[in-house]
Symmetry: C2
Subunit: 344 residues, 2 copies
């Protein structure tokens, strides 16, 4: 009966919602180090207490998700009960940051796992749910916490381990985006999701879990290339192309990859290089974690889009999908990248 082709699909992997979902509001909550960084003033909630009033770092991470969601809903002049769904995930085992953080929100919940690509993955889901006619308003949210991540993925903090030069600093922070249907009240002039490009799992054989930038750069290259190919847009179409947390090394690898295709990424930056003063704050290769791209998007970028300073942004958060077990078993690091075009 239904024989119409997928008119929302462009090329191989890019999708163009019929009625681009609108970003009705967004908010970010961060810790001390992020608040002291170059974007500090842009974050909605800053707390110098790494426990955020809780008694464990994991509960603190849940708390910042809850804070970011509450503030985002408030900024959108909505309430939690207006949300049809929340799409959420994080780095903690079994995505516990999200489940416990959103347990009391009473919003139909979809758990998602895309490692540090989670912010853009949830935006893809949100766009599909809204443009597909299943939701009027959804929340997309993710978080990370330096202390819970170090404990889980690396060393107990108390051990005081040395970090390698290619290692990155997991951002303590959460970002939440409230998406609504194209025709929503006061939607004029607000940023919209006009396209998204899905992710393939790319594994370039990198095995060093302290060099995630190198592991993730090939995934970013794969997805961004697909996006440009599918849409026919050149990188210069965008005021800003933004990867999630490639850090210094991954950033340079990505630039090199495109240089081999004779493509110059003029307006390109990486959230991991923006959120900290990379030299001054001693974060080695830059920031990382789900909260890195989430807080930079929700705190800094969307603020600039709302004032008109940025009009076309390609947000491509990246994820390294290893676990401590897979690394201990000698596996390489499969990586992933979802790209979301946000335009005013």
């Amino acid at each position: 009966m239904i024989t119409k082709s997928l008119e929302k699909k462009l090329g191989e992997r890019t999708f163009r919602p019929e009625n681009p979902p609108v970003i009705l509001g967004s908010a970010s909550a961060v810790g001390k180090k992020e608040g002291e960084g170059p974007l500090g003033a842009d974050f909605d909630i800053r707390n110098d207490d790494s426990f955020f009033g809780e008694d464990t770092w994991e509960k603190a991470e849940s708390q910042i998700q809850s804070l970011a969601l509450g503030r985002a809903v408030e900024k959108a002049e909505l309430s939690l009960s207006d949300m049809d769904f929340v799409f959420a995930g994080d780095l903690l085992n079994q995505c516990a940051g999200s489940t416990f953080g959103l347990r009391d929100a009473n919003i139909p919940f979809f758990g998602v796992y895309g490692a540090c690509s989670t912010m853009s993955e949830t935006l893809c889901f949100g766009a599909m749910a809204i443009d597909g006619g299943f939701a009027e308003r959804v929340a997309c949210i993710t978080s990370s916490h330096y202390c819970s991540a170090e404990r889980q993925f690396r060393m107990p903090l108390e051990y005081g381990g040395q970090r390698t030069p290619t290692s990155q600093w997991t951002v303590t922070g959460a970002g939440a985006v409230i998406l609504g249907r194209g025709g929503a009240k006061n939607a004029n002039g607000l940023p919209k999701i006009t396209h998204f490009t899905s992710a393939k799992i790319i594994d370039a054989g990198i095995k060093d879990a302290n060099n995630m930038g190198a592991a993730m750069a090939p995934a970013a290259y794969d997805t961004l290339s697909a996006h440009f190919r599918d849409t026919g847009r050149s990188p210069d179409y965008y005021d800003l192309i933004l990867t999630g947390d490639l850090g210094r090394l991954g950033h340079d690898i990505l630039v090199d990859f495109f240089a081999k295709d004779s493509i110059k990424l003029n307006n390109y930056n990486d959230c991991g290089l923006m959120i900290y003063d990379v030299e001054g704050q001693d974060v080695h290769a830059g920031g990382s974690g789900c909260g890195c791209s989430a807080t930079v998007l929700c705190g800094h970028i969307l603020r600039k889009m709302n004032t008109g300073e940025l009009r076309r942004v390609l947000f491509a958060a990246t994820g390294a999908m290893m676990s401590t077990t897979s690394s201990q078993q000698g596996e390489s690091i499969p990586s992933i990248c979802y790209a979301v075009a946000i335009e005013v």
Copy 2:
């Protein structure tokens, strides 16, 4: 501009795709114990080697996802490259079973986390992507493995720990469903997803990680009640109402909950009670794990739907969203349940 209401939404949390996505194929792969159980003959792939030819249990789990996907695509008379997306998740930390299992499939990938509810969660995503106009065909897949789950969540197998009477046995198995658009070739007479009901996080305060049936039953009750309320259907409408892995205790709690509402669940069963001979195979309260509901659905139920023996099934996989860390920190177990109505 867009002011039409959500005509796909029924009541509070249930959705009715405009063109019900069709189950074009499905397959299951299981281990020795499952092959010896009462449904053994229904599974597509059985292997007595708990390593499935790999050198670790985690790699074995990835391998069974890959096997189930390959067979499901084959049964649907399609190839991997026909899939627009794969939605996948599992219980391993960072969902490594899925990432590594699907790394070579070269299908655009969305990682999902719903603990043991993952099979029904991925079907919700698949239905939204297809009916929303974003995909023609998708794969939905999940897995679990007794040995990888025991090692990660409980004790090293070598320790030989005693299991409590309320504990359940994690299924070694994977299930994969291939969904296609309503108008797909040869779709007549195939099972379709006619409705799905989204999940809220329900936490009844249970803290015993060896009693997940009790933790999850309230979530099943919440979602099934919403489904009946939203659709106006009584439980008797369905030939079979199927929860994921409540086990003996959770099954009885759910029946009790509905009895308090003066509702009798006549055609109700739980995958965790079906997959094993609960007494004879010494599995205590029954089977569990993402693979439990996935293999019972893909191996047993859909087979019966394809022969017309079952025509209306409400598939409600349940998930317990704790982590070892949250349990060690004294937290209770938030639970979740997505219900999917499958009808011929």
